[in-house]
């Protein structure tokens, strides 16, 4: 690995990322560093370019300008599946599970990935059993009916966990969660937050795009604030909301 001799264990570096759609500048010269084991929150008002940033990192969009490095490797302009294979997993804001398949069968798709095959020594084996293990890890009760129900009929909270389980199944090192908390009740949040904390404690790196600031600030190590596609603040959660430009972006000018 290239980061062996790198003291800071940099996992992801974005440099001057820019993307426009027609005349709309969605992301303007965004740069940030991410270190291994860090939980980075990305916040910002609606339309500030958060999801575009995720799409740029995961290859679903190609940046107009700028560079993305993952573990020292330039991944700018790679296809989404190539980026996923080197260990970057993501969830989608609009969750669309493989609706007709039972929940555990949904995990067959990530488990079938070339990445997982390579990591498990070139064999696929009995994926059903492995899939159920991952579901249990995100709080599906073992052998309960939700495991076997078609994913399309799952309650919202379970769908979010299923998305999380897909990232786990891929054995990703960097997990990008796009508004995972949105639409969850307090009780559902209380059960899903420990799963994320456990991920981080296991050494995974996590980026969370969030609107639920209170919950995010409790677990994030660092927060980046976007507004009109630019980074307007980058710092630890307890200080970030004190910055005048952040208050202005969120509350409007006084």
């Amino acid at each position: 690995m290239t980061d062996q001799n790198n003291k800071t264990n940099l996992i992801l570096r974005a440099q001057n990322l820019s993307k426009s759609f027609g005349g709309v500048k969605a992301v303007v010269s965004v740069s940030f560093d991410l270190h291994e084991g860090e939980l980075l929150g990305v916040i910002g008002p609606n339309g500030s370019g958060k999801t575009t940033l995720v799409n740029l990192i995961t290859g679903f969009l190609k940046p107009d300008r700028g560079k993305i490095e993952y573990k020292g490797q330039d991944i700018t302009g790679w296809t989404p599946y190539r980026i996923a294979r080197i260990g970057i997993a993501r969830t989608f804001q609009m969750i669309r599970p493989f609706a007709e398949l039972p929940s555990f069968k949904n995990l067959i798709i990530p488990l079938y990935s070339p990445r997982v095959k390579a990591l498990s020594g070139g064999k696929y084996g009995d994926l059903d059993a492995v899939a159920k293990d991952y579901l249990e890890e995100v709080g599906f009760e073992r052998e309960s009916s939700v495991t076997y129900k078609p994913a399309g009929s799952l309650p919202h909270g379970y769908l979010k966990r299923l998305e999380l389980a897909k990232c786990l199944a891929l054995r990703a090192d960097l997990i990008i969660l796009d508004e995972l908390f949105s639409g969850l009740s307090i009780a559902e949040l209380a059960s899903i937050v420990p799963i994320i904390e456990k991920l981080v404690s296991e050494g995974k790196t996590v980026i969370m795009i969030e609107h639920r600031l209170r919950e995010l600030f409790r677990i994030a190590d660092r927060v980046v604030v976007l507004n009109y596609g630019s980074v307007i603040a980058d710092g630890i959660p307890s200080e970030i909301m004190e910055k005048p430009e952040v208050r202005k972006a969120y509350l409007g000018s006084e």
Binding site: T58, F60, T79, P80, Y81, R82, A84, R85, A89, R90, F92, R96, P97, F98, A99, E100, L101, K105, I108, I109, P110, L111, Y112, S113, P114, R115, Y124, L127, K166, A169, L170
Partner: protein
């Protein structure tokens, strides 16, 4: 006091036979075994019993059943093809050329046409794999028509005359049983394939291709593989028919080979392969039987099509399957 009530037959059977086979009566075994065995038995007996004209109808029915299944398979991966004629025509021409011009024997040129045909179709469609929905369909519709015109304009491979004098099958039984076995093999192989992990990934591409990409699976490579599988089946049909007619020409790219499989699959019910199979076995013989009435044939045929689609939009197979699972029997209960 004894009373009687109705009970659904499949309940207990399903619970017991899904995982472990522990059926405890001959009737229950029959209930499970009849649906897959019936078409097998019927297809194996038919060539022996049918008069020679209807044997030809059986052969073309099987060909359309195969094309319908290959169409159904592509739809299951999210690719709606309007051009099974492409697969058919490419297979037909490869078989014709390799038999007549290269002088290969029939048992070698058919496998070659099947595999090479599938590969060529996959390669031809690879540039448009990124297109979705109707855009992909348009290209598949146009490609066979384009190849047909290329043959006409360039005079290649016999041009408008086609290639005739291709080795026929040694006898009509070889012909019938080859296509019958191929159809049955495809039916069960396809049904098996879609339940494997590989099949699930293909199905997932249809449901949500971005999610499949985001776990590191190259969906274009998977789609190309699906095209190859479907193309092989279509090309086999073309190669087979070339030897039945002893001729290959521009009609091999005819629209019939695109439209009839599609309507078979829609009438029979999509997504199960058994539906496509059933649809072809209704539509093709029906079209033959209507030949006697002359000019009104197409009108009546179209009327049947519309009737089935309006009355049973889910497809005949799904309807029958549902009714079969809802069979009830009287059981005695103690009160």
């Amino acid at each position: 006091m004894k009373q009687r009530r109705k009970e659904r037959i499949d309940r207990g059977i399903k619970a017991r036979s899904d995982d472990v086979f522990s059926l405890n009566s001959f009737r229950e075994m029959l209930y499970v075994a009849v649906p897959p065995l019936a078409p097998v038995l019927i297809l194996l007996i038919l060539p022996l019993e049918l008069p020679s004209y209807w044997q030809k109808v059986l052969v073309s029915t099987c060909v359309f059943a195969l094309l319908a299944m290959s169409w159904d398979f592509l739809v299951g991966v999210g690719m709606v093809s309007l051009g099974q004629a492409l697969f058919f025509g490419v297979g037909a021409y490869i078989a014709g050329i390799s038999n007549k011009i290269l002088g290969l024997p029939i048992w070698i040129d058919i496998p070659i046409a099947t595999v090479l045909g599938g590969a060529i179709c996959a390669v031809l469609l690879t540039p448009v794999l990124r297109l979705r929905g109707v855009y992909f369909s348009m290209v598949t519709l146009v490609l066979p028509l384009m190849l047909e015109r290329i043959v006409e304009a360039s005079g290649a491979f016999g041009g408008t005359e086609g290639i005739s004098g291709i080795t026929p099958f040694p006898n009509s039984y070889t012909e019938s049983y080859l296509i019958v076995f191929a159809t049955l093999f495809a039916l069960f192989a396809f049904r098996r394939l879609v339940t494997t992990d590989y099949g699930l990934v293909l199905k997932a591409i249809k449901d949500n291709d971005r999610a499949v990409m985001s776990v590191g699976i190259n969906i274009y490579w998977m789609k190309a593989q699906a095209l190859f599988i479907s193309g092989c089946v279509g090309a086999f049909c073309g190669a087979f028919i070339t030897h039945v007619y002893g001729f290959v020409g521009m009609p091999s790219f005819a629209l019939d080979y695109s439209i009839l499989p599609l309507s078979s699959a829609v009438v029979g019910g999509m997504g199960t392969f058994a539906g496509s199979f059933l649809g072809a076995f209704i539509l093709v013989p029906l079209s033959e039987a209507l030949r006697g009435i002359g000019g009104l044939r197409i009108v009546l045929y179209s009327f049947f099509l519309v009737f089935f689609i309006v009355a049973l939009p889910e497809g005949i197979f799904h309807y029958i399957q549902r009714k079969y699972q809802q069979f009830e029997r009287w059981v005695e209960v103690d009160k």
